[in-house]
Symmetry: C2
Subunit: 336 residues, 2 copies
Amino acid sequence: MKSPEIVLGHGSGGKLTKDLVDQVFLDSFANPFLSTLTDSALLDFDDQRIALTTDSYVVRPIFFNGGDLGKLAVCGTVNDLSVMGAKPLFITCGFIIEEGYEIESLKRIVKSMKNAAEEAGVAIVAGDTKVVEKGSGDGVFLNTSGVGVVSSGVDLRRERVRPGDSILINGTVGDHGMAVLMSRERFGFEAPIDSDCASLNTLISGILSSGADIKFMRDATRGGVATILNELVSGMEFGVLVDEEKVPVMEEVRALCEILGMDPLYVANEGKVVVVCRSADKENVLKAMKEHPLGRRAEVVGEIVKEPASLVTARTRIGSRRILDLLADDQLPRIC
Amino acid sequence: MKSPEIVLGHGSGGKLTKDLVDQVFLDSFANPFLSTLTDSALLDFDDQRIALTTDSYVVRPIFFNGGDLGKLAVCGTVNDLSVMGAKPLFITCGFIIEEGYEIESLKRIVKSMKNAAEEAGVAIVAGDTKVVEKGSGDGVFLNTSGVGVVSSGVDLRRERVRPGDSILINGTVGDHGMAVLMSRERFGFEAPIDSDCASLNTLISGILSSGADIKFMRDATRGGVATILNELVSGMEFGVLVDEEKVPVMEEVRALCEILGMDPLYVANEGKVVVVCRSADKENVLKAMKEHPLGRRAEVVGEIVKEPASLVTARTRIGSRRILDLLADDQLPRIC
């Protein structure tokens, strides 16, 4: 596991990424704001609590079904802020462009960013452009960092999660990963699968203002829902039981996953949020989700359990149990 | 000039970069915070004015005389915040790593970031790691974004600059560019030139608290002092007259520039700030600079003039005048 060189799996968001963070970053960057090298931090400025987040995007192809690098980079950062309970306000962008890249394509990416930013109500306030020689990059890499303000009264921490709490998701899982994969190869499918790439800030503000006691939220990107849930339970005195039958999956996504031997619970999403709330509030949260266009297919998909602690377990369709472990590697590199 | 493809010069910080920004980014990203796609923005949160900045770093080689990618990425972002009159507080980092990169080298980069952050008194609070296939990147690319708080009473705007104002710099120019170049090839030189890569926040806070009326500051990175001064005068009703004899240049840098036919005024720095202040305050600023280890060789290097407006002119050693225009291209790609 302790490879002396970087491998693709180090970027998977799974076990190898965790190893790399533990091994390389944590020692050096240990500070009160950063216990794991997460992509988001909460910072106090006088009376204001501000959320700060960063993400680089290397998705390939740059234009895929249902989105592109530019849209992804804005929505992804808007979502990272939103799941911290912050209202996203400002975004910066850093472009690393390979010599020879067509300026028309760059314009398309920028146009997508503009549209996504307008839709989410955020302003792109600063940027930077670097160019590398042909062969030293891959079209365009894009970093977005974001700043938002956390509403008072919001207290999202996994330490508040208790056995019995409910787990919800706002719709079908695996759409983004399979859409990107289908943009690489068609696999003989007639209709393309569209990425779910979308900004979740208005959906999430609806959830937060529903009156429900929301304890934890995370957007299920790299590594999918299973990876997020593993991060939730890691080192905690509770586990997660997912009711697999309840997890919404598009027919085409399920079919393609079956062909490829993949599990939709591990496939990346870019418009899905996992919410943990008090059980008594679950109908409330479900209602708030379903009232939003991005939550029509929302479901209660599981619950927090006392045993087995620190583990994510699924109740399968045939009634058996299986463990959803943190994957070492990723079958889908460069998904975001 | 309107190339349909990206060329290296688009990343130079000079004329081609300006064209790209005008052509691709400005239309889409126009908003009150962003008139040109600068790498910094000032944002108001209630009573607090916050500075936000982003920069990507693609310097090659990753380890050069006097610094490395990690140190550069922290110092560069600390400096971008500092020249806006902000106290740098928080930094995020986004790594894009090429498959096959040695983890030991990654650790060295991270260690440098840690040291630079400690020295500057900033916390690295969030991060992200992506991996791309071998051949799709070039070792490590690093984005840092930064947040700082602007002290009340600081009003840095080129609109406040007037003819007669003085221009100062805190030391020798061109060190970084020549150091990186010498790390690529030795050119038969005995002693290496060290990059000036350093965090300027304490130097700058000393200048700001000197009581002088500081009107404009900018760190002279890509494109060097001449490019910064061109940005200062662009579209304004004043010009800049640089007294070339006063500009400090290290002997080795001058010699190497002469061999290569380059002008030290256009060569990148990573620890140099250009300051414009009221003429009556220039001795005050010079004193504040010289009291700091990074300002020992500070000089008053020129003044703001009424004519020729919007131009940067230099009084040469032999007493003639020459125009320091914005360069179209850059002789030194991937300098930062």
